[in-house]
Symmetry: C2
């Protein structure tokens, strides 16, 4: 399999973790988001959205959208599972993943930050406040969801990593990069630290990628 990504892309980071957790081998092709390669013809041919990641399977099928890719991997390579066996548990894990993927990350990715400082002409300080606002709103909710539930274990759901951890860890990485205050999130921090001692997460980290600047 071939993963078109970028070392700092949060969505590509999720897919790298999922691939690693499944023990799947993959080649990486870097698409430089800062220089705008994602909007170049090659990448648009792979994904009309002009985004990464794109996972190309061995038969040449190109898959887009990180959560859809992770679900695909979980269906095709069921061991170890990224979702628990019961429907209520699966709904909980998917909801936790979507707090990150549908509430926090979409507001804070590169194209949005560029629109803020470009079209809207906001200052760097205002951009940073925007970034931190959506992280804190999402993490406030996540911390409560994790703390209030007996389903939370060493990881977001039980004692093995799931799709929720796959999404949480890249978001925590980004929050730290933008110097968000993490003091109110002891459970999130504990889980992220637990994940980060696993090779699957360690090897997926931005700094460990071939295109890391």
């Amino acid at each position: 399999m071939k993963l078109y990504g970028y070392f700092r892309s949060s969505a590509a980071y999720r897919v790298r973790i999922a691939l690693n957790l499944k023990g799947l081998a993959y080649d990486q092709v870097a698409v430089n988001l800062v220089s705008g390669e994602q909007r170049g013809g090659d990448n648009l041919a792979r994904n009309p959205q002009g985004l990464v990641p794109v996972l190309e399977t061995d038969d040449g099928t190109r898959l887009t959208q990180s959560l859809a890719i992770c679900e695909y991997l979980d269906e095709r390579y069921p061991k170890p599972p990224l979702l628990p066996p019961d429907s209520e548990g699966r709904a909980r894990v998917r909801a936790l993943a979507q707090v990150v993927a549908c509430e926090i990350h979409p507001l804070n990715n590169l194209k949005v930050l560029k629109y803020l400082t470009g079209e809207l002409g906001t200052s760097e300080k205002t951009k940073l406040a925007w970034y931190r606002h959506w992280v804190s709103e999402g993490f406030d909710a996540l911390e409560t969801l994790l703390t209030d539930s007996t389903a939370t274990g060493e990881f977001c759901h039980g004692d093995t990593p799931t799709l929720a951890d796959v999404c949480l860890v890249p978001q925590v990485f980004n929050a730290r990069r933008f110097e968000c205050d993490m003091s109110a999130y002891p459970t999130i921090r504990r889980i992220a630290e637990r994940c980060d001692i696993l090779d699957a997460f360690k090897h997926a980290a931005p700094a460990a990628q071939p295109d890391a600047g």
Copy 2:
């Protein structure tokens, strides 16, 4: 089952469509997003995110995040399916749904528009340009994805409605409400019109809800 929602909430609209497609009966409880009921104690107890929808199942389990709820419904009530049987098809449907749910909608929901005109002090005109920008970026990609694939049928994927249509129709409704130019999206328009003749979609429309103002 009980659905906590709001007639104009795009995410609640998705869940109403899914419930209707499955032929499931549900009671609706309105949470007025304009007056701020979603941040009231009752709603926060149901969902620490302070969002709708929340689906309360008959055994009292509360489910959040519209896509997670739809997947739950599809697992528990498999007929008619919201996802195709093959993994590649499922990945395609989920990716189409996520173009809406992870790329367009998160940027254009009420809390974000309020942040723009509030904290950022943007004008109504700038807010509207923001709204239309993310709709057109997402719809440009969706139109290409739908037009380029032989998997597209009467609906986004084949000739029966899937999770992709469940997400597309509320987004088209919103785009029209904000007077986005839809002329470049003949395939999106054709599919949305095809959906809207089905009772499941008709009965889920904002104007058909008990709390419609």
